[in-house]
């Protein structure tokens, strides 16, 4: 376990910024809820074997008691660094992303399953969409009952979505909660 160096921190923050925008400040500065201490402190990011974890300070301090080779995971994993050095967000980051998302998309009940199997979101499955989405923005996908299902990258702006034909791609799939079943080993 080690802290992230500056380059790694920028990579992680940039990826999170795509989804949260200015709410990134909330993610970083929010007081933690973990641990039995009366004052758990803030959240911080730690790197353990190429995975980035979002942990409260009290937990971090306790985790230093576990040996380097024995420590598997701590707090919430938000993503991993690939062999090539780039950072990818994983589905376990959905909690913090959904709470602080800037752009949201709601899916119709008929196309929920399709998205949970890993398919992209088509215009025909779109229920609601927030305004002012630009292409290339990070988008969090919800069901109509406001359950977060996953996240992805938007392919069209909101206005273009209105003019699109029903089979056009709206959101490129990046992660969904079905991955907990499908890719249990890789998470």
């Amino acid at each position: 376990m080690r802290t992230l160096d500056e380059k790694e921190t920028t990579q992680v923050f940039e990826k999170l910024f795509k989804f949260t925008g200015n709410n990134l400040k909330n993610i970083i500065d929010s007081p933690s809820h973990e641990g039995p201490d009366p004052d758990p402190g803030r959240y911080c990011f730690r790197l353990c074997k190429n995975r980035v974890y979002y942990v409260g300070e009290s937990l971090v301090r306790r985790a230093t008691n576990v040996g380097r080779h024995n420590l598997t995971s701590l707090g919430t994993c938000v993503g991993k660094f690939t062999k090539g050095g780039s950072f990818h967000l994983t589905i376990q980051a959905l909690g913090i992303l959904a709470a602080n998302a800037k752009h949201k998309v709601w899916l119709k009940p008929t196309s929920e399953m399709s998205f949970l199997y890993g398919n992209h979101v088509l215009k025909g499955g779109l229920g609601r969409i927030t305004e002012n989405i630009n292409p290339g923005d990070g988008v969090v996908v919800f069901s109509m009952s406001d359950v977060p299902l996953g996240f992805g990258i938007s392919q069209r702006s909101t206005q273009d979505c209105r003019k699109l034909d029903p089979n056009g791609l709206v959101v490129l799939h990046q992660a969904d909660i079905g991955e907990y079943l499908r890719m249990e080993d890789e998470l």
Binding site: T3, D5, E6, E14, K25, G41, R42, C44, E57
Partner: protein, 353 residues
Amino acid sequence: MEEARTMQVDLGNLMAFDSGHDFPSLPSSREELVEKCLEKGTELVQAIADALFNLPSTEDVDGPIVKLPQPTTKLPREKHLPKPKPPTKWELFAKAKGIKNRKKDKIVYDEQTGTWKRRYGYDRVNDDKDIPILEAKATDEVGSDPFAERQADKKKRVEKQNKNRLQNLKQAATAHALPSHIQLAATALPITGTQAAPKKVSKEELGNVAGLAATATASGGKFDKKLLGEKKPKHEQKHRKFLPVAEGTGQGSQEKEQTDRVLNKLLAKNSHEILNVNKAVTMYNVKKEKKRSKQKRDDSSNSSKLKPQKKVQKKPIKNGSATKGYAKKGSDTKGSATKGSAKKGSAKKGKSK
């Protein structure tokens, strides 16, 4: 055929040599000269080939193999003749005194055991350890050990001999006449008679070697006292330094600083996206409309004919630079348009925390 007689073939060196060759007339051009030389060369090579095939051959997988005879031409020396070395101290003494060198046998008859033993080495003739009794002389002290004394004497003699040998070698070295086996053993010395180029050690090389020497201790040179002016080693063990994992109760101040720095950089880079110009402009227009309609209602209650109606519509402009000033006045939720004021806004938020 006359040429064949003057031709000498040295098969040991695979060489053919024509001593009677002479150019009858100097050829005019370079090409002609080259041609003539090639012709002559071919004849000579032909002679070698003829001689080779005349030798008795043995069959082999690759073809017939021929054993070449010893070479007949004497090649010149590769290295120079050995220089005469200066006479050693003993040689000078022997010459002066007229002492001649007598040949000694390796095996000598031993009187004590009645066998033939070596003159020196294992199981030798006059070995010290074979003497059983030493008679005490009048000059001997009471508590001294004569056997130990004999050993000590021998050691001294051997040391003296070695010293003299080294002195002789040094003399020979100054006269550039060291014997070849010692010359080879002393790798730093150049070949006798030649001048070795002085090797210049560069600053970088010295630094590297000094670094190696400094770290070649049991603890890697970590606890050695440094001399005055000695700098820290260039490459410390760890090539990357990370912030401490848990400082105090969790996040250290350095880590906080780093995250804040990165965050601010990121927000500042994307601050142009904070203000949505179109939305701000529409909000402004809506506000204006409301204000005007309110005025209209008030005026209509009083008198509408006297006051002129001002209709000003602001169209949203694509680049936000012109409307930034207006937007500042109008919108309050989005806060500020310029980058400087954006920073102020976020700083305000930070302070309130």
